[in-house]
Every structure is written in structure tokens, then in C-alpha cells.
């Protein structure tokens, strides 16, 4: 009995001592949450920034864009991150004005598996939309054949593979299809999860890629990073200017540069189907979200300093991790915008 009491006392003592021990460290901790797509580069940035400023520790949880927006609105995290810009409704629901700051770029590519076809296929937005809508059902369809003269397309049924989990990748893809096809906009629309008219859902990029690889006659979409790292062949897509562009870090950055000219003040812009020579049409920014009038000034100061670093020195980590860096024009606009955060 005595031994038991002693143990209990010990346990309570340990519990009480715990917070005291963590409080002793003099580091500033800043918490953020949101999108999964930029997680690899964000964690790289935060760890590199920590090496430069050992007293600052930025924690990021990749819980998804929706969760990031929710937690930012509830002020349970200091900053959020999202693959799609917040809607006007969401902004109105937040306790204060929120600023969007683009950090890096991503692209989405169409991947396919057609027995007997090894060459790269060309797609237009309209044909891609019709395939996803289930209107074009065979690979030998004249609409596809016309774009790809010289490719022997089989009379195979098309199986559409999409993401089953809510995802920024889906958002970018359907945002593009909605821009180029009024029909797609009307029947499907834009969101991180949509009501797909046909097809099967795979979980994550790996789920979609796996299903495409295994199913003869299938077409799906994955992130450019995922396709290039796993050496999956993908099709080229016709851009706004009418040329067929193969996705690459270069062509994605070009799309952003084209959009920079008409950049709205709040950076909430979709750059799918962007104009400009060599611009890849299924591209998008990913954003970090901050309050313009933060309650915790010292933390805001640190985050502004971090953003300045990420937009300049930090961009050099993009290439090794497979992200497209921001074009210079956009960085300049953001540097200007950072001054709006009241410190």
C-alpha cells in the first residue's frame, strides 16, 4: 500500500514538473496547418530557417487545405496553408482579414495507359473534359485521333480514374476543365472533391497512378512532381495560345509569369489556362494564409521575416523537391504585400 502511494505521488510529481521543463527552453514556437501538397518544401523551409534562426521553431501539420482554413479561422494555428484560395464566404467567416501569399507552384498532368501506344499523346482542354465527363468513351474516338495523327489508337473503352480523397490536385484539374468546357462547369464544377459522372477513385497520387498502371485503357491525373519522380509518362495539353505544352517546372513557372500581369491585389487567382507562350495550362499556386492584423506581433514579425527568406533564398530548394519556383514578377508583388501585415 505504501509503495503504491509513493508511486502515485511520483507520477503526479512528474506530471507537474512536465510543463515547467518545456517552458525553460527559450525558443519561439509558431504553429501552422494546411495543405499536404506543399508539405515537403514547407518542412524543408522550416528546418532550414531553424538552422539560420535556432530560436525559432515553426511547426507545420499537413492536415489538408480544408482543415488549415478551418483552424486558421478558429485561430488555433498562427498561419494556414491551402491549395485553393479561400472563398469570399470563408473570408467573411474569419475573425479578421486574411492575406494569401503564393509560395510555390505545382502542375497537374494527364496520365494514361493505352495498350500499344508508346508515344506522347496530345490533349486539348475540350477533349480532356469530354473524356472525364464520359462523353468520349473510346480511345479511337475521332476527337482524340484528330489531335494525334500517326498514333494508332485502339478501340478500347476509356476508364477514367480520379482522386477519391479531397485534394488540391483535383481542385486544379477541375478548375482547368471548368474554364475550358462550359459543360464541365455546369455538370461538375470546382471543388477539392466533386461529383464525378463516371470512373473510379484512387486514394492519393499513388492510388490514381497505381490504378492507371494496372487498368488497360485508363486515364487519370496526378501531380507533376509525382509523375516525374516516378517516371510516369504523361500527355501534353494545349494551352490558351493554342500550342501543345508538356508540363515541366519551367512551363509551370511560365504560366505564373503570364498571370502576374493581371495579378489581383489579394493574390487569389487561378492560373489555369493562363495566356502566354510556353505556359502549361494546368498549373496553380499554393498559398500560405496569414491574418493582416495578427494578435501576436512578435510572431508576425518572425513570419514576415520567414516569408521574405522563403520568397528569395528559399526558392532555391524548389527544384530539388520538384516544385516550380515563383516567377520574379510575383515575388516582387508579394514583397510589397508583406508590408500590409501590421507589426
Amino acid at each position: 500500500m505504501k509503495a503504491m502511494r509513493f508511486l502515485l505521488a511520483l507520477a503526479f510529481g512528474a506530471l507537474l514538473a512536465l510543463p515547467a521543463a518545456t517552458a525553460q527552453a527559450q525558443t519561439v514556437q509558431i504553429n501552422g496547418a494546411g495543405a499536404t501538397f506543399p508539405y515537403p518544401i514547407y518542412s524543408k523551409w522550416f528546418s532550414e530557417y531553424n538552422k539560420l534562426h535556432p530560436d525559432v521553431e515553426i511547426n507545420y501539420q499537413s492536415i489538408g487545405s480544408g482543415g488549415g482554413i478551418r483552424q486558421l479561422s478558429n485561430q488555433t494555428v498562427f498561419f494556414g496553408a491551402s491549395d485553393g484560395p479561400m472563398t469570399d464566404e470563408q473570408l467573411a467567416g474569419a475573425p479578421g482579414p486574411i492575406m494569401h501569399l503564393p509560395t510555390v507552384l505545382g502542375g497537374v498532368v494527364p496520365v494514361y495507359n493505352i495498350p500499344g501506344v508508346d508515344s506522347q499523346l496530345k490533349f486539348t482542354g475540350g477533349v480532356l473534359a469530354d473524356i472525364i465527363l464520359g462523353k468520349v468513351t473510346k480511345w479511337s474516338d475521332p476527337a482524340i485521333a484528330k489531335l494525334n495523327p500517326g498514333v494508332k489508337l485502339p478501340v478500347t473503352d476509356i476508364t477514367v480514374v480520379h482522386r477519391s480523397d479531397g485534394s488540391g490536385t483535383t481542385y486544379i484539374f477541375v478548375d482547368y476543365l471548368s474554364k475550358v468546357s462550359p459543360d464541365f462547369k455546369k455538370t461538375v464544377g470546382v471543388a477539392t472533391s466533386v461529383n464525378w459522372p463516371v470512373g473510379v477513385g484512387g486514394k492519393g497520387n499513388e492510388g490514381v497512378a497505381g490504378l492507371v498502371k494496372q487498368t488497360p485503357g485508363s486515364i487519370g491525373y496526378v501531380e507533376l512532381i509525382y509523375a516525374s519522380q516516378n517516371k510516369i509518362a504523361y500527355g501534353s495539353v494545349q494551352n490558351h495560345d493554342g500550342e501543345f505544352v508538356t508540363a515541366s517546372l519551367q512551363s509551370v513557372t511560365t504560366a505564373a509569369a503570364g498571370a502576374a500581369r493581371a495579378m489581383p491585389k489579394d493574390f487569389r487567382v487561378s492560373i489555369t489556362d493562363a495566356p502566354g507562350k510556353g505556359a502549361y495550362p494546368i498549373s496553380s499556386f499554393t498559398w500560405l494564409l496569414f491574418y493582416e492584423k495578427p494578435t501576436d506581433r512578435p510572431k508576425a514579425k518572425i513570419m514576415v521575416d520567414f516569408m521574405k527568406w522563403a520568397l528569395t533564398d528559399g526558392q532555391k530548394y524548389c527544384a530539388e523537391l520538384g516544385y516550380a519556383p515563383l516567377p520574379r514578377e510575383v515575388v516582387a508583388l508579394e514583397m510589397e504585400a508583406l508590408k500590409r501585415i501590421s507589426l
Partner: protein, 325 residues
Amino acid sequence: MKTPSSRRSADDRGFRLGTGFFALLVVVLVAGIFWELYRTSHLSIAKFGFRFWTGKTWDPVSGEFGAMPFIWGTLYSSLLAMLISTPIALGIAIFLSELSPKPLRTPLAFLTELLAAIPSIVYGLWGVFVLVPLVRKLQVVTPDWMRKIPLFSGPPLGVGMGAAALILAVMVIPFTSSVAREVLKAVPSTQREAAYALGATRWEAIQAALRFGRTGIIGAVILGFGRAVGETMAVTMVIGNNPQVSASLFKPQYTMAAVIANEFTEAADDLYLSALIEIGLVLFVITVIVNAISRLLIWSVTREVRFKAPKAPAAATRTAPKVAA
């Protein structure tokens, strides 16, 4: 000075209060879960009402939510999994408890229980890379006349209801079989001895043991069903994730647990989130109903046994001496 007896009764009371408190915790927890699910899904409940249960459209863009395809997918896949797994699991249980040579018993039991310890993501990956291609091969060679039957209609995708039911069956087998084995072990050996004494064959003796332990065996099957209803990761990886109500084993479908896991993280819109939580509420209610049905089933079986009980042992004791003599 306390007398020994008063101290004992104080200890008893303390013990009873302590354990009672823990039992109460479970009730509070379940009530709390229900209340929280109800509270956080009020937006969706207010907007759709009962239509949520019967609606077939799930469209986050236009804000139209109906749970029917998910309810269907969950119940259908679990039911199919039970149909496949129950005979196999009972076979394993009977072999291990009644027929297996002693040296084989422990390693075999260990191996079946090992199946339960495999994480569901591993089952899912196995499903994607091994099971789904196999199922597709089966679907490709399915003759055309069979495809006309609704059960086998649809393109040969590999992923779909059939693959999901198979993977669920594999996952459920260790649960059902190990509980059924424990139940058979608990059947008093006098039951079997009595049956043998009556001149029963081995099969008839096993039947007697099964009949004796049927409450527990039904419990084992229900346990497996509960596990199948709640399974998420492995199912979402092979079921195709397309919300539709179809009897076909070939067609992609969707389950409640899978849609929550898939869409919760990215659901930023309030109504959308509320609808996903209501799916959780529906899953909760259906689990309660399934458990209630199983209770009823067990209750009706035990009642039957209780009525018959005085007769059966009496018959055994009456005839046993005769056989012995």
C-alpha cells in the same frame, strides 16, 4: 477500531463504486459521442432531414448530400464479406478445436491470429497489387451470358464491390475464427462425451458442440460483421470509390467509413463538413441497430435453449446408462 467484517464491507462498497464508475464511463462516452455527432451535424440535419438517408447524390460543389450509396455500399460489402468468411472461419475454428493434431494446433491458431495483427493499409496494398489484378482477370474471362446478370454487370475494372468483399472477408476471418474457437473450447467435454456415448459419429458430436455454443458463435459472426462495417483503409483502396447503388460485384462503389476518411481533411465548407459528420452519425446509428439485432438474435437463441434445456440433458442421462450397460 473497525471490525474485520465492517472493513470488508467498506472495501466491497469501494470496489463496487469504483467498477461502477468505470462502467458508467462507457455509457457517458457513448452518449457523448452521439450528442457530439448530432450537434456538429445539425446544419445538414436541418437542411436535408430524412432525405439525407434516401438521397443518392453526393455533390460537394452544389451542396447536395445524400447518404444512400454509402449506406448501401457499407452494408452490402459487409454482408458479402460475412457470406464468404463465416463458413471459412467456422471451418478453421472447428478444425483447430476438434480435429487438429495437437502439435499443429498452437502454430495454426497463432497464424490465424497473426492475420488480425496485419495493419489494414498492408491489406489495402496487397489488395491493390495482388487481389485487384486477379479479380480483373476473373472479370475479363467472365462469359457474356453471365454479364447480363445484374450481379456481374459492368466493365472489368478489378476494383469494385467484389474485391472489397474479398479483402474484408480475409480481414474478418481471424476475428470470427478465434472467437468461435474459444467458444468451442468452452463447450463442456461432457457434451461431446454424451454424444459419443449415444453412438454419435465425430461429425454428429461436433454438431452437438456447435449447437451448444451457438450463442457464442453468432456473437463471433457479429463481431466480424462489426469489424467489416467499420473497416476503412483497405476498403477504400479497392472498392473504386464511386457512390452508386448497384448489386453488381464488378461496379465501383463506396462505403461510409471510406468517404469520411477521404473527404474530411479537405472539407472547408460548413454544410459539407456537417454532411460528412452526419455520415458518421448514420454509421453510429446503423452500428447500434446491427448490435441490437445481434442481441435479439442471441436472446432468441438462448431462450430457445432454455426451453429445451431441461429435456436434452435429461434425455442424455436417461439413455446414457443404457448405452454404457
